[in-house]
Structure formats: structure tokens, C-alpha cells
Symmetry: none
Subunit: 258 residues, 2 copies
DNA sequence: TTCAGAGTTTCACTGTGCGAAATGTAGCGG
DNA sequence: CCGCTACATTTCGCACAGTGAAACTCTGAA
């Protein structure tokens, strides 16, 4: 089997896509016969592929035997949407912030007990290394963005996080006691901004503010990283403003003043 | 080839779904090696299936060779969403309820033993996170909407549900015994309204009422979610009225008063 | 430059997906 | 009720489509 057609091609998957295409063209549920006709597949072949897709939720088969697109597509589609809109929306604002400040700007999202950096504007001036590279991860309690998520969690979850992780030390200034962490988190909550002062990597400091989506959820941390000697806390308001700008673009509606 | 495994099963499609599952669990793009490891597939097999999915838009492969879920899933997912016929009908009433109460309103439908959230009005005031995101799922017995569906099932099916799922605990207040669940379901039946008191997510409470279609079937749960400290059971009648309004619009005819 | 690791391509092999045929089901009309 | 039709579902022998191992290529780090 060396046909040139084999390149980038698996027959079953292509047939499956054809079935999904036909289903997507029909507003109403579709019977097997129609699907077989419009895809050109043998009815028993179509039947079997539809059964496999039905088992995985890609297709839904009702009692009277008609098929429509299934709920798994909605779930996966929602993931795609949420992952695209955050990055695309954030990137422009990040580049502007980068130009204003001359420092690297990072976008970090939460994955369990860690921050994962998913976007970054590059800066020739930055001495920042390993930690803030796209794809890199770091524990919540030593990163500015991570502290935002812990502040969102509330005291019980912060304690659970501390117990679960043991608050590992990365540098001599890392927070390693629950008491210190809780105090830090309180400050984060009050100021809606967080700092990382040489806590994850020696010689690197960050300021971060939270990005929220249309449901009000904290979905990412926007952080500015600088070498320690260039650290400037006066940049906090501008970082907060940028994060708020991105949040609004994501559909976030700030709380009514109380 | 007569293995019992063949029932409802096509190996390539199952492998494809496994790859999609892994990608859905990773917020960031994933390299081939990781995908092969986490799915247990041989790298060349994974590579080929990913290439086939990439050709159809189910997966997107970037220049540096990492993979993420693709745009075709968003397209198909949007179709699924738009075709849930109750969506348009419900949305207007949901927005009104949202305005009246200032809280987030969710529309959840049943998929087997879980509730899937298919619509949501956003609220800047809500601290609600992961669970009620569009596309998210949660077990029936710990969600207000889910309890409506269990009440509709009847005692035999509720017992089967409990046996089948083991009533997994999500929080310290989750219902985990059949006896407690049956009592709760009885209350739901009597009041035509259901509650979720920190049972699926700490710090979040819901009130839900059922939406019925023209055949009288329960087709969705309309729920109002609030942070626990803002929980107000006095909102139950207004939620019930809104659900009834939507039901009527779907052609539901209430039973003759008795 | 070399080397290691990841990604990509090739190919012999076999078991998985295939279509034809048989069987089952539902609805309709007499 | 029975017979018919159309569609759906299941069965099964078969061959080719999908497979994994090996070879090859590429990339980045030392």
C-alpha cells in the first residue's frame, strides 16, 4: 500500500469527516440512508462509523434512528474558542505594554498548582531566562501570576495548596511558610496586583495583574518581568490597566461599585 | 476478526478520540512525544493520525511541530449549539432573569449521567468558575439542574444511577448516599425546584427549575448560580416562573389544575 | 563539529475495516 | 391479520488499510 493518496490520509478518518460534513449541512437530524447516499458510503460502513462516533459523543443518535452532531463537538469547540480568544485578544495589548515599558510581557494561565506561560513578548533588554519561556511552568506561590490565582481561591484552598505542595523553595527569597503566603495573598487581594521579588528566579522580578473573562472568572495573569536592578513598582497601575483592557475585550463586566 | 471489542468500535477512531482527549487536557500546544506517551500510541502512528486530523482542521499543527485542537471543532461546536432548539427560546428570558437578579443564569441539558452547560449569561459579579462554563459537565446528583432530571426519572432509575455512578463526592457537602439523594429528590418533586448548596463547587450555590417541551418532556434545567454568601432562596419562585415561561414558549401545556 | 533526541518517512506484515448478503424491524395497505 | 416495502442492523470472509519497527532527517546544545 504505497499509493500517493496515503500521504496525510487515513481513509476511515476521511470518511468520518464526510459524514460530519453532511450532518453539518442538514439543520435537522438525518437518517442513515441519506447519510449513506450523500457520502457515497455503503450503508453498513456508514452505520458502523456513525456508531463509533456516537460512542464518543461526536454524533448523537436518537431512538428513532436519526443522527445529528453530538455534544462532544460543543465541548471541544468551546475549548478551542476559549483558547483562541484569550491569546488573540491579549496579544495586541501585550505588545503595546511591551512598547511602553521596554520590558517583557508574559501571559500565564493556571494548570493545577502551577502557572504555565503561554505567550510572551520578547525583549532584547531582558536578562530573564528559563522561567518565563513559553511553555515553562512554575509553582503558584512564587510567581506573581500564581499569587493572583491563590488570591482568587480563598483561604481554605490556599491552605490545601500549601499542604499539598509543601511550598517548595526555589530561591532564598521564595515564600515557604503558610503565614507569609497568606499575608502576601491578602495584599494581592487588596491591590489587585501581585509581585514576585526574586522568588522564582534570582535576579528576576515580576508585577502581575489578573485577566477575567465574560463570566468573571480569573483566566490568566498578565505579568511584566524585569531584571531586579531595573524593577520599578510604579509600573503596577499600567499593568493593571492593561489587564483590565484585555478583560473587557473578553467580555468581562466589572462589578457595580458598592 | 470477530473480537467482542469490535462492537461499536473502530480502532482508529478510538485512537483519534484519545489524542483529542489529551489535547483537550492541555491548555498549551502539545508536542508529538507527549501525545504518544499519554495515549500509549507508537509515535509514527500518533504522527499519522494527527496529520489526518490536521488535514481536516480537527487539529492544528504549528511550525514548530506542536499540536492543539483545531478550528473545525469550533465550527461544528457552534452548529451543535445553534441547533439546540431551546437555545434561542430560552436566551431572552434568561437575560431578563439575569437583569432582575444580577446573577448568572445557566442552561443545562442532560447527557447520560451528567449535566452539560450549553448557555450562560455572564455576570461580572459572579465568582463562579470552572463548573458552569459553557461546555462543562457535572454529575447529576450534585447539580441543581441534574436533580431535576433525577426527579423526573423515578425511584428505580435513581437507584440505578446511584449504583452505576457510585455517587462520587466533589465537595464536603456533596450528596453521597442513596438515602439522602432520595429525600432530596422527593423535595425537588414536591417543590418543582432544586438546589445545589456547595455540592459541586465550594463557594457556589444554585437554584434550578425545569424546562419542558411540547411533549411534556423535561429538556433542560434553568439555574441561577451565585457565590454562597449571596445565596437567596427567595429567588426560587422567580426562577420557576421563568422556566415556565420558557416551557410555554417551547409549546409546553401545563397539566390541568387539580 | 558531534551527538542526542525528536520528528518524519518507508515498508513488510497482518489484523482491522470493508461491503455483500442475510436478517430484523417498522409502517402501511388490503 | 398478513404481505410487502423500505430501511436498519448484524454477520462474516477477505484483502487492503493501518500498523509499528527501522531507517532517515532535522534541530539544538555542548
Amino acid at each position: 500500500m504505497t499509493a500517493p493518496e496515503q500521504k496525510n490520509s487515513i481513509q476511515v478518518i476521511e470518511r468520518m469527516m464526510r459524514l460530519l460534513d453532511v450532518l453539518s449541512e442538514h439543520p435537522d437530524p438525518v437518517p442513515l440512508k441519506t447519510l449513506a447516499l450523500e457520502t457515497g458510503l455503503h450503508p453498513s460502513t456508514a452505520h458502523r462509523i456513525l456508531a463509533a462516533m456516537s460512542a464518543s459523543g461526536f454524533v448523537e443518535r436518537s431512538d428513532n434512528g436519526v443522527y445529528r452532531l453530538g455534544i462532544r463537538l460543543l465541548e471541544l469547540g468551546s475549548l478551542v474558542k476559549s483558547r483562541i480568544s484569550l491569546r488573540d485578544t491579549a496579544m495586541q495589548a501585550m505588545l503595546q505594554l511591551h512598547q511602553k515599558t521596554g520590558e517583557s510581557v508574559n501571559l500565564g494561565i493556571r494548570d493545577g498548582d502551577e502557572i504555565v506561560y503561554v505567550e510572551r513578548t520578547s525583549s532584547g533588554r531582558s536578562a530573564v531566562r528559563v522561567v518565563h519561556i513559553v511553555g515553562a511552568r512554575a509553582p503558584l506561590h512564587v510567581t506573581a501570576s500564581g499569587k493572583l490565582f491563590l488570591a482568587e481561591d480563598g483561604p481554605v484552598k490556599v491552605r490545601e495548596y500549601a499542604r499539598r505542595t509543601g511550598l517548595p523553595r526555589l530561591t532564598s527569597t521564595s515564600i515557604v511558610s503558610l503565614e507569609t503566603l497568606e499575608k502576601e495573598i491578602d495584599k494581592v487581594r487588596r491591590h489587585a496586583v501581585a509581585y514576585d521579588l526574586d522568588e522564582v528566579e534570582n535576579g528576576v522580578r515580576c508585577i502581575a495583574a489578573g485577566i477575567r473573562d465574560d463570566s468573571g472568572s480569573l483566566v490568566a495573569g498578565l505579568s511584566l518581568s524585569t531584571p531586579s536592578e531595573r524593577f520599578n513598582p510604579d509600573l503596577a497601575p499600567i499593568i493593571r490597566d492593561t489587564a483590565e483592557q484585555i478583560s473587557r475585550a473578553l467580555g468581562y463586566v466589572p462589578p457595580i461599585a458598592r
